[in-house]
């Protein structure tokens, strides 16, 4: 009897720890991202309700979530195309995301742009453009501006391994390094840029190997462990906030899909998918949470159920959102129409 009581107390204590709290947040946002993207990719896209390209971050949810947890609420984020969780963490609703994909007024760009090409400056979220790594110089400039203004916020910018081949990546990092701008760079190294494997993308073994060339520190982290990414993100954020300049974090992971919903990824050896399916960041975290006593399997099941219901409601909300009125076509090209 006493033993049972003691065990319950221990579990109770563990579940109240800061680690448990962090893990619960991580699990919540990874699950939300997974659920929202599953609906987009496997239902709404196939039903023809979602238009244009669909690029999801299945299996890579730990990266935006770990990084987002390491950011302060007033830090400025530059998500890339597999970082949906960052939007959720900053309070963008799943309904707004579905509406964005459906080209409705309720999306963040009011139908002006599609899929994850979205941002909201009031939430510290800067929208990407399609050219990979183009955000890096922009993020460098935002970081320079924060320093200019004497604010202690930092900027986090996200990109894939393929993006590190572009000149913008190199120019942006170099400028930020020279200026000691408060910038943390997160590389989602999922080993494929569309169909091109890493060894055809670069001749060095790691993206992190490039950092010494710019005189900045870098570290490599397990890209499927949100808590490890959080820890690395905290180190990077502290470094940047102390005025020491940019910090690069390479998150090693794997793209569990094609480049986009229309890409069956036949070029990826099946064996790689099988190996990496054992590393699902959500399954791994759930297992650890149960082992550590941070949550029960029942609580986790409830979380999934709650997110499923909320996602259903969000889709309904988005489908009620109207398409933009064609009469608004020419608005907002300039501050004043002329």
């Amino acid at each position: 009897m006493a033993a049972v009581k003691l065990e319950a107390l221990t579990r109770h204590d563990a579940s109240q720890s800061p680690e448990a709290d962090l893990a619960r947040k991580a699990l919540t946002y990874m699950t939300m991202m997974r659920e929202v993207e599953e609906r987009i990719e496997r239902r709404l896209y196939r039903q023809g309700k979602v238009l244009g390209g669909v690029y999801v971050g299945r299996g890579q949810e730990a990266i935006p979530v770990g990084a987002g947890l390491a950011a302060r609420p007033d830090d400025v984020l530059f998500p890339s195309h597999r970082d949906l969780a960052l939007y959720l963490m900053r309070g963008v609703t799943p309904g707004q995301i579905f509406a964005q994909y459906m080209g409705r007024v309720g999306g963040l760009t009011r139908g002006r742009d599609g899929n994850m090409h979205m941002g909201d400056l009031s939430k510290g979220l800067v929208a990407i453009i399609s050219a990979m790594a183009a955000s890096v110089p922009v993020a460098a400039g935002a970081a320079m501006a924060l320093k200019y203004q004497g604010r202690d916020q930092i900027v986090m910018v996200f990109f894939g391994d393929g993006a590190t081949s572009r000149g913008d990546w190199h120019e942006g990092i170099n400028l930020a390094a020279v200026q000691k701008a408060p910038l943390v760079l997160f590389c989602n190294n999922n080993q494929y840029a569309y169909s091109t494997p890493l060894d055809k993308q670069m001749a060095c073994a790691n993206v992190a190997d490039r950092a010494p060339g710019y005189g900045i520190p870098a570290e490599i982290v397990d890209g499927n462990d949100p808590l490890a990414i959080y820890e690395a993100g905290r180190r990077g954020a502290d470094h940047a906030r102390m005025g020491l300049g940019p910090y690069l974090i390479e998150c090693k992971t794997f793209r569990m899909t094609g480049h986009s919903a229309h890409d069956p990824a036949d070029y990826v050896p099946k064996q790689l998918f099988e190996e990496w399916s054992q590393q699902c960041p959500i399954v791994r975290l759930e297992k650890r949470m149960i082992e550590e006593g941070w949550a029960t399997s029942q609580e986790i099941a409830q979380l999934h159920e709650r997110i499923r219901l909320e996602t259903d409601q969000a889709i309904e909300w988005a489908e009620q959102s109207p398409y933009p009125d064609p009469s608004t076509l020419e608005l907002d090209v300039y501050e004043t129409k002329g």
């Binding site: 800067v126 929208a127 110089p137 935002a142 120019e171 400028l175 020279v178 300039y334």
Partner: protein, 323 residues
């Protein structure tokens, strides 16, 4: 004392930096060296390295960083060493800066200064007049002053504008053009053309350095009794269509004249608008005079043959007047 076109731009930048602590400059060699053409000379001493940022040779990063800084509430003025190198930052300008307001309601108030134009023996990579690339991109404003007074008034308006502005400074005008400037804080609005010279018989619609060529040509044909009106557009985007059409309705004949190459040049757009909207007023075809469709050559004989000049314009004016 008369102020040069170059000094006018510098004065405008000084005044805007004094007025607004959010204004800062970034670019290659703009600090201790004062810029390739010395437009920013003296700025570093006055404002320090925080507000006068010497950058690596990275046009894409310069423009990208300006966009990012504008999102954070600053007012960046980026210098391209030559307008020719703006192509290295093209994606940031046409895909990022130009589209942010439309896409996600994030204005990018910034100025990209671009020393442009030929006549300085700069060859194919230091002479181009590439404004049409940007006039073809919705979301950008395109400004090309011809006079010292306008250079100052327009740079001040550009810095204050809430949209991205590409500001083309003609290198051949930097030290050749000077005048007494109005005292105090004045601006010249974007989107308002100037009737540089009034006339009755024929309109020459032009901008940038060619305004002065047109003025000289007009003085020559005036002796033959031909009264030529010279319209200085000052900005291509926004375009002051009203002033163009009013002039053509008055004179019934129009030559569109620019230093940029002919095909796909902005002159074609102006000619089309005149024919669409003032056709019934025309007493002859809308004619164009522009550089031929070649790169800008280096050797003096070739460059002279390339550049539009007073003789070529006078011949074109006589041809149209006789139509």
């Amino acid at each position: 004392m008369a102020t040069t076109y170059l000094e006018a731009i510098r004065e405008g930048l000084f005044e805007e930096m004094d007025r607004d602590p959010n204004v800062f400059l970034l670019g290659e060699d703009i600090g201790i060296y004062g810029g390739a053409f010395k437009v920013t000379a003296g700025m570093l001493d006055r404002y320090g390295p925080r507000r006068i940022v010497d950058t690596p040779i990275s046009e894409s990063a310069i423009v990208g960083a300006a966009i990012g800084a504008s999102f954070m509430g600053l007012r960046p003025v980026a210098e391209m060493q030559f307008a020719d190198f703006i192509s290295c930052g093209f994606d940031q300008i046409v895909n990022f800066a130009a589209k942010c307001r439309y896409r996600w309601n994030a204005p990018a108030p910034m100025v990209v200064r671009a020393p442009c134009g030929g006549g300085i023996h700069g060859g194919p990579y230091h002479s181009q007049q590439n404004e049409a690339w940007f006039a073809h991109t919705p979301g950008l404003k395109v400004v090309l002053p011809a006079t010292a007074r306008d250079a100052k008034g327009l740079i001040k308006s550009a810095v204050r504008d809430n949209d991205p502005v590409i500001f083309f400074e003609h290198k051949a005008l930097y030290r050749r053009v000077k005048e007494d400037l109005p005292q105090g804080d004045y601006t010249v609005p974007l989107g308002k053309a100037n009737i540089h010279r009034e006339g009755r018989h024929l309109s020459v619609i032009t901008y940038s350095a060619m305004v002065h060529v047109a003025d000289e040509a007009a003085s020559i044909v005036a002796k033959e009794g031909l009264s030529v009106e010279v319209i200085d557009l000052r900005t291509l985007t926004p375009l002051d269509e009203d002033t163009i059409l009013a002039s053509v309705r008055k004179t019934s004949k129009a030559i569109v004249f620019h230093e940029a190459t002919l095909t796909g040049g902005f002159g074609g757009e102006i000619a089309a608008r005149i024919t669409e909207k003032a056709f019934e007023y025309l007493d002859g075809p809308v004619m164009r005079l522009a550089a031929p469709d070649t790169p800008v050559p280096f050797s003096p004989t070739l460059e002279e043959a390339y550049l539009p000049n007073v003789d070529k314009l006078v011949a074109k004016i006589r041809q149209l007047a006789a139509y």
